[in-house]
Each structure stands twice: as C-alpha cells, then as structure tokens.
C-alpha cells in the first residue's frame, strides 16, 4: 500500500537533490525579502522588533507560494502525472508524498533559517523556539492548501498569478495564528492557544486537502 508513497517521496527528494539550485533560490528569496524590510520601514530596533513576526511569516508564505508551481508542473508536462493517476493505489497517498517532499525541500529549510534571520530583526530571543515551531506547524498547511491551488492552475495561462489570487486569501488564517504565536510569546502572554489552533488546522488540512488536490489533478488531465 505504501509502495507508491515511498516511491514518489524518494523520487521527489532525489529530484530536489539533483536540482538543488532551485531549493537554494527559494531560501535566498526568503532571506532577501526579510532583509528588504529594514530598508523600507527604517532600522529603528523597536519598530523592527514589533514587525518581525509578521515580516518573517509573510516572507515564508511568499517563498512557499513562489515555489508551489514546481510541485506538479514538470510531472504534468512529461506525462508522469497521467501515469500516477492510473496507479492502482489511492491518489491521496502519492499526493501526500509529493506534498511531504515539497515541504521537506522548501518548508523545512525556511523553518531552520528563520530563527537566524529573526536575530537580524532583533526579535526577542525567548520567542525564537516559538517562531520555529509555528513555522513548522504552519508551513505544511501552506503546502497542503497550495497543492490544491497548484493542481487547479496546472497548464492554465497566467497560472502563477492566478495561483496567488486563489490561495493567498486561504493563507490568511495561517498567517494570523502563526505570526500571532510569535508575537504572543514575545509579549509574554504565551503562545499555546495559537500553536494548538495551528496544529488543529494542520490536522484538518492533512485530512481534506489531499482529497481536493487529487480531484483537481484528475480534472487537469481531462
């Protein structure tokens, strides 16, 4: 049963490794977006500290958005997607494998780098673990929701912009709870509620998004 799951996971990780420049570009994008903010709003430490959670989260969200088109585009063009859809194993499984591989190669690096970047914005050091944790819970939700959008816009003209329009409104709750968690921790009110809600959101997205994504992929080959 998990044969297909692991085959897809292994292949996508191997492909990410062979095309590792793409992964690094995503990470560099994340870093640069964060570094732009001090130039825009001024380098006053108090102000930077205040906007740090939001800035880091918006940058992570954009980095995820910009790499989402990679998720299915190549497989769609070269026919691999058709073969996967003809698999005798449930589509939900290999969709999950693809999203997991995507998260491991784009979400996880962001999670690991974010605490370092937070220091540039002078974020409270006690809030750094919360930042990493909120991103670790939140970015998989972004990947799962984004996968639905990526599947729907496969092969559509203007797909990239359309993808942003489709899924950015859906990202808002994740942004609210993710950035909210860091802010709550930094201001000393505790982030437990935010993190629990993010965890709940992740569970819901894990249950529903692969179904919607598989249905969208079936439509895309019609």
């Amino acid at each position: 049963m998990l044969n297909t799951f692991f085959a897809v996971l292994r292949r996508d990780l191997l492909l990410a490794w062979r095309g590792r420049a793409d992964v690094l570009v995503t990470l560099a994008f994340f870093v640069i977006v964060v570094c732009l903010f001090p130039f825009g709003v001024g380098a006053e430490p108090n102000q930077l500290r205040a906007i740090a959670p939001g800035v880091l989260w918006v940058a992570a969200l954009l980095a995820c958005l910009l790499s989402l088109h990679r998720l299915f585009a190549q497989d769609h063009v070269d026919g691999t997607l058709e073969q996967l859809l003809l698999s005798s194993e449930p589509a939900v499984l290999w969709v999950l494998a693809k999203v997991l591989a995507f998260w491991l190669t784009t979400g996880l690096p962001v999670v690991l780098v974010a605490p370092g970047l937070a220091l540039l914005l002078d974020l409270e050091q006690g809030a750094l673990p919360t930042l990493a944790l909120s991103l670790a819970l939140g970015t998989p939700i972004l990947a799962l929701l984004g996968a639905v959008g990526a599947a729907l816009t496969l092969g559509v003209r203007g797909g990239g912009m359309l993808l942003a329009l489709l899924i950015l409104p859906l990202f808002v709750p994740v942004l609210i709870f993710g950035a909210g968690a860091v802010e709550a921790e930094a201001s000393g009110t505790g982030a437990a509620a935010h993190l629990l809600l993010l965890g709940g959101g992740l569970a819901g997205a894990l249950a529903l998004a692969p179904l919607a994504c598989a249905a969208a992929l079936r439509i895309s080959t019609d």
């Binding site: 729907l152 816009t153 329009l165 409104p169 808002v172 709750p173 249905a215 439509i219």
Partner: protein, 254 residues
Amino acid sequence: MNSSQRGFRIFRFAAPQVFYPLAGRLAPWFAAAAVALTLVGLWLGFVVAPTDATQGEVYRVIFIHVPAAWMSMFIYLVMAFWSAVGLVMNTRLSFVMSQALAPTGAIFCFVALWTGALWGKPTWGAYWVWDARLTSQLLLLFLYFGFIALTRAIEDPRRADRAGAIIALVGAVNVPIIYFSVKWWNTLHQGASVSLTKAPSMATTMLAGMLVMAFAAWAYTLAVTLWRVRPMILERERHTEWVGEVLEREGGRK
C-alpha cells in the same frame, strides 16, 4: 442535423432545453419584483424610518449595506451548494448556475465594502478600519475574484466547471475559518470596535426596510442569474439539436 441522430440525447444534464425557456420566462418577473421591492425598501429606509438618535442620518446607508453583505455571503454558500451538486451528480446546469451567480456575489461584496467605507468615514473618522467584518468581507471578495478568474482562465468549459467547483468548495470550507481567525485577530489587536449592524434599539421600520431591501437583492440576484445562465447554456450545448432550433427561432443569430 438529421433525425437519425436524434437518438443521441444522453446528456446527463437537468434538461437544459427545458430550463432555458423557463429561465427566460421567470427572469422578467424577478426583475419586476426587484424593482418594486427596492422602491418600497428605499421609501421605508429613507422616508419612513426615523433618524437615528446617535448616528444621525448617516446610518441610513445600512439599508443598502446590510442586505448587500448578507447577499454576498449567501450567494457564496449557494455557489458552493451548486458546485457540490454538480460534482456529485454530474449535472452541468449546476456548474453553470454557480458561475452565473459569482459576478453578482462579487458585486454585492463590493457594494457592501464601498458603503461600509462611506459609513466609516463620518462614524470612525476613516474610510477603512481593519474591522473583523470589513476584513472578512474583503477576503470574501478575493475568493470571488479567484473563482471568477479561474473559471475564465481555463479554456475547456468542462474543466473550468469542475475546477471552479473545487475552489468554491475549498473556499466555502475556509470562509468560517477565515471569519473566526480574523475576528480573533481583530479582538487581540484593536479591542471591540463599533459594530455596523448592532444599531442600538433598532426601530421596527428600520428592520422592515432592511428586510424588504434584502428581498429586493434576492430577487435581483435571481433575475440577473437567470439571464446570465441562458447564453451560457447555449454556449455549452451548441452542438446539440435544440440549440440550433432555438437560434433559428430567435432570428438566426449566430
């Protein structure tokens, strides 16, 4: 097409050739109802209803704002409903309905935002505050835009139908989540703001005016949607016999 091809009629479609003329007959009635109800509603709202004790005349914008906001949310739900029906039952008319509803929903959404801003300036002193209701309304407008853009961007009508249905359902699942998250965010950041719909001690005439306007909006939606559905049905069914007959009857327009 000759009669030997008449055997080809297995369109799993809730009889478009029945619905097409029906929509044409019903639409004018709903349009007339919309006009009449709007006149009554505006008369109630702007002439009969008393001036509000705290807000003065400004409050009268709610006779447009509140029905528009209600309708914009209601239409999204109806869209999601038809999308689900379409995906489950494979009836093409359902997809057409949800796509015909979307522009109207977006317009009501925009009207609600616009009137909200006009009301906000004298009341809050700013055209826009990040109030939970206004913000959710804005995100709903984006969801409408996404749906419309996606269904317009996909060339193949069948694929557009199904893709649109999926995003409408995904959106419908997310609307309550968005609403509550925004509300939560709002209370954390700003504290309670003056709520638009909780006009203190609302007079009966005010409520009546709002309800009449809501029905007017509902009738308008039906009329416009039915009119919009008709050409969409013809476009999708243009390779069938009955569409050819309809086009001939209606003056041979291509």
